[in-house]
């Protein structure tokens, strides 16, 4: 009886904490969610339908700010690009792969300003090109996300050179 007396409030406290955790996520969690969404929208399964592709590509745009600074020498991307260009690049990249998976690992998040976050991470792109070639590339990235209308949006993406030829 005594145990039950303490068990119920204890359970309620745990449930309350869990509810708080899920309904009021931390800024880090919100940022990680953006990476999960980007990974989901950029990735492509074999035999993906046109409808699914259009839906995913359409959702990539709102993850980015109006102007995005890219520094990706491997793909000859350097400078500031409008959001629509990012969508077009994503569409082109998806079309050149029959299967594509973009994953993000080891995110290190810092907040140099209240409404800006810097994230360094490892990205891994695997898949099969339309010509049947297997692709497996890993890169270290440095991204800046800005908080606009309570949404963390990608504003800078830069590849960090780990091996310099």
């Amino acid at each position: 009886m005594v145990r039950a007396k303490y068990a119920i409030p204890g359970l309620l406290v745990i449930l309350g904490l869990l509810a708080f955790y899920f309904f009021f996520p931390s800024e880090e969690k919100k940022i990680k969610k953006q990476f999960v969404l980007l990974s989901e929208y950029a990735s492509k399964e074999q035999g993906e339908s046109t409808f699914a592709m259009a839906h995913k590509v359409k959702n990539i745009g709102p993850l980015f700010t109006d102007k995005v600074r890219l520094q990706i020498p491997d793909y000859e991307l350097s400078g500031s690009y409008p959001r629509q260009d990012i969508v077009n690049y994503a569409l082109r990249a998806r079309l050149s792969f029959s299967r594509l998976s973009l994953q993000f690992f080891d995110l290190v998040i810092s907040f140099p300003e209240k409404k800006a976050a810097t994230v360094t991470l490892t990205s891994r792109l695997t898949g099969k090109s339309a010509q049947g070639e297997e692709v497996d590339e890993s890169r270290e990235l440095s991204c800046v996300l800005k908080k606009i209308e309570d949404q963390w949006l990608f504003s800078d993406v830069e590849v960090i050179e780990v091996l310099k030829k």
Partner: protein
């Protein structure tokens, strides 16, 4: 119940005593420390180190390999990105201050050709001479059959070396 059967039962279904829980905690913590930070299990993916290491091989990254010394030429090392989830497996071909170049697939360090018996899939790479910067090493994969543009190799900082494969 006979003592033998009782002992077997105790082995598979132990009583949740304080001593047992303590032993389990110590084993779990030690395993986490050892396999999470000292000897990290890895699956090799990619063909850049073939035939020395093949795609799909299993190994461990031994983190203490370079704790008291720096890598030497011909050592195989692991280069980290942001964390330890993804790493590159490469061979050291040149050290700090040395000049490295490729001429028709042959490796030259400080102008002298380096004998590379581990290269079974040679290529025709050409790379103009470049000096390895301070606190850096130059790493390349053993499989040189891919075009030079597609092979991920080059100079990296010593701080990025995570360790070496266990075998």
């Amino acid at each position: 119940m006979s003592p033998g059967i009782e002992r077997i039962r105790q082995f598979f279904f132990p009583s949740l005593t304080r001593g047992f829980l303590l032993r389990v905690s110590v084993v779990a913590f030690s395993a986490y420390l050892f396999f999470g930070h000292l000897c990290i299990p890895i699956f090799i993916q990619g063909k850049s180190m073939e035939p020395t290491y093949r795609h799909g091989d299993f190994n461990f990254c031994w983190r203490l390999r370079y704790i008291f010394s720096n890598p030497k030429r011909n050592d195989i090392i692991m280069v980290r990105f942001t964390g330890t989830r993804v790493m590159l497996l490469k061979r050291v071909v040149a050290l700090e201050g040395e000049w490295v170049e490729f001429r028709k697939g042959r490796l030259f360090v400080d102008g002298r050709e380096i004998h590379e018996p581990y290269v079974r899939f040679p290529g025709d790479w050409n790379l103009s001479p470049r000096q390895v910067e301070k606190d850096c090493i130059y790493v390349v994969g053993d499989n040189r059959s891919t075009p030079i543009e597609d092979h991920h190799f080059g100079q990296t900082h010593l701080q990025r070396i995570l360790g070496g494969p266990s075998w």
